[in-house]
C-alpha cells in the first residue's frame, strides 16, 4: 500500500462514519468484533504483517501520539476515542513496546472511553501479569471485601517492576502506602503511581486495596 492509500485508510478509521458503526457496541467484546469486521482495519492489519510492517507500525504510533495531543472540547467525549482504541488494539497485536508507548499517550488524552480501557489493559494488567507475577484487580469499595487475595497489610513503598514506554527499563509502577498503625485494623491507604513519581495518573482512595494473585 502506498503512503497515500495508508493515509486515506487511517482517515477512514478516524471518520465519524466509522465511529458510528462501532458506536452501537455496549461492551468491549462487541466493539472489537465490530472493528474486526471493518475493511479498513483489515487493510491496516495486512500491512502491519507485510514486509513494510515496521513503517506502518510507526505511522500508526505517530498518529496515536498526534491524536492524543489534540485539543478536545472538555464537555464531550474525545472525538477520536474509536480511532485511538482501534490503533491501540492493532499495535498491541503486533508490538507490545509500541502498544505501551501508545497506551501511555492515550492515558493522557482527555475524555476517552474505550481507548482508556484498552490502555489500562496494556499498561497495567498485562504488564503486571507478565512482568511482575502479580495481578491487579479492580479496587473494591471500602465497604466490600476483596473476593480473592488478601489485604496488603504492609505495602509500604512496594515497587513493582513494570516496563514503561520511553523510560524503560527504569520505569516503575509504584504503589506508595502508609503503614497502618499497629492499633489500626484497617487496610493501608494506597496510592497509585505510574511512571515517574511526580506523574500520578492513577487513583487514590481511603482504605482501598491491592490484591495479590
Amino acid at each position: 500500500m502506498n503512503p497515500q492509500d495508508m493515509a486515506s485508510t487511517l482517515e477512514e478509521i478516524e471518520s465519524n462514519e466509522f465511529a458510528v458503526r462501532l458506536g452501537v457496541a455496549s461492551n468491549f467484546r462487541t466493539f472489537l468484533r465490530a472493528a474486526q469486521q471493518e475493511e479498513a482495519v483489515w487493510r491496516v492489519l495486512r500491512e502491519l504483517y507485510s514486509q513494510g510492517g515496521r513503517l506502518v507500525l510507526s505511522q500508526i504510533l505517530q498518529r496515536v501520539l498526534e491524536l492524543s495531543n489534540e485539543q478536545v472540547d472538555f464537555r464531550y467525549e474525545n472525538p477520536w476515542d474509536t480511532a485511538l482504541t482501534v490503533y491501540l488494539w492493532l499495535l498491541s497485536l503486533k508490538d507490545s513496546e509500541a502498544a505501551e508507548t501508545a497506551a501511555s499517550a492515550v492515558s493522557r488524552a482527555l475524555n476517552c472511553w474505550w481507548a482508556t480501557k484498552i490502555a489500562r489493559s496494556v499498561l497495567l494488567r498485562e504488564q503486571l501479569q507478565n512482568d511482575a507475577g502479580m495481578t491487579l484487580v479492580d479496587v473494591p469499595s471500602p465497604r466490600q471485601k476483596p473476593s480473592t487475595g488478601r489485604w496488603l497489610s504492609n505495602a509500604s513503598d512496594l515497587v513493582l517492576a513494570v516496563s514503561l514506554p520511553g523510560i524503560r527499563p527504569s520505569g516503575k509502577l509504584r504503589i506508595g502506602s502508609h503503614k497502618p498503625s499497629v492499633s489500626s485494623p484497617s487496610p493501608p491507604r494506597v496510592e497509585w503511581f505510574l511512571g515517574r513519581l511526580d506523574y500520578r495518573i492513577g487513583y487514590k482512595t481511603e482504605q482501598s486495596s491491592v490484591v495479590t494473585a
Binding site: V20, G23, V24, T30, A109, S141, R143, I201, G202
Partner: protein, 172 residues
C-alpha cells in the same frame, strides 16, 4: 489530570451512581460524556438511511441499552452484567410473543452467543394471518440514538433477538 482509572464503574468511581439489583448487589456502571454534536448528527443520518422505519426518540451518549432498561436512562451498564441483573431482579424467560408481552425484555445475542443488546417491548401490532404480528421495541443503540423499531430492525452488530424475559408476576 487524566489517566488510567483502576476500579472503573465500581462504587468508588465518581462516574458511577448507586445502582443495585432488587437483591441489593451493586451494578457496575459509568455515566458517559456526550458525543460531539457533529458525530451524533452523523449517527442519526447514517442510521436513518439504513433503517428508515426506526423512529428516533432521543440521541444521547450518556446511557446504553442496559442503562435505559435497568437504570432509568441515568448511566451506562455493560451487557456483561445482564445475567446477574435478570437473576437478581426476578426475571424469568418466556417464549416468543404472544407469550412475551408489552414491558418484557428482548435479549439480542451475537453469533458467539454473547448478549450484545437488550430492548423492551412497547407494542405488538396484530397482523392478520401472522403470529405474533409486528413487535415494536424501544432500545438504545450503544452511545447513539434511542429508537422505536421493529424487533429485527437493529444494526447487525447488535445481534439477533434470541430470548424474551419478563418480571411479570401473575396471580391466578
Amino acid at each position: 489530570m487524566t489517566g488510567v482509572l483502576i476500579g472503573a464503574g465500581s462504587p468508588a468511581d465518581r462516574a458511577s451512581i448507586p445502582l443495585a439489583t432488587r437483591r441489593g448487589t451493586f451494578i457496575p456502571n459509568e455515566r458517559r460524556l456526550e458525543w460531539p454534536p457533529a458525530k451524533m448528527r452523523a449517527s442519526i443520518d447514517q442510521w436513518k438511511v439504513r433503517f428508515p422505519h426506526a423512529r428516533l426518540r432521543s440521541a444521547t451518549a450518556q446511557y446504553n441499552c442496559m442503562g435505559l432498561i435497568f437504570a432509568s436512562r441515568r448511566t451506562w451498564v455493560e451487557t456483561d452484567h445482564l445475567k446477574m441483573i435478570l437473576g437478581e431482579d426476578g426475571y424469568h424467560q418466556v417464549k416468543d410473543p404472544p407469550d412475551a408481552n408489552i414491558g418484557d425484555i428482548v435479549v439480542y445475542r451475537a453469533g458467539d452467543g454473547d448478549a450484545s443488546h437488550v430492548g423492551i417491548i412497547i407494542h405488538i401490532e396484530p397482523v392478520i394471518g401472522r403470529t405474533p404480528g409486528d413487535v415494536y421495541v424501544l432500545s438504545k443503540w450503544g452511545q447513539e440514538g434511542e429508537y422505536i423499531h421493529l424487533l429485527d430492525e437493529v444494526p447487525s452488530l447488535l445481534g439477533k433477538p434470541a430470548e424474551f424475559w419478563s418480571d411479570r408476576k401473575v396471580y391466578l
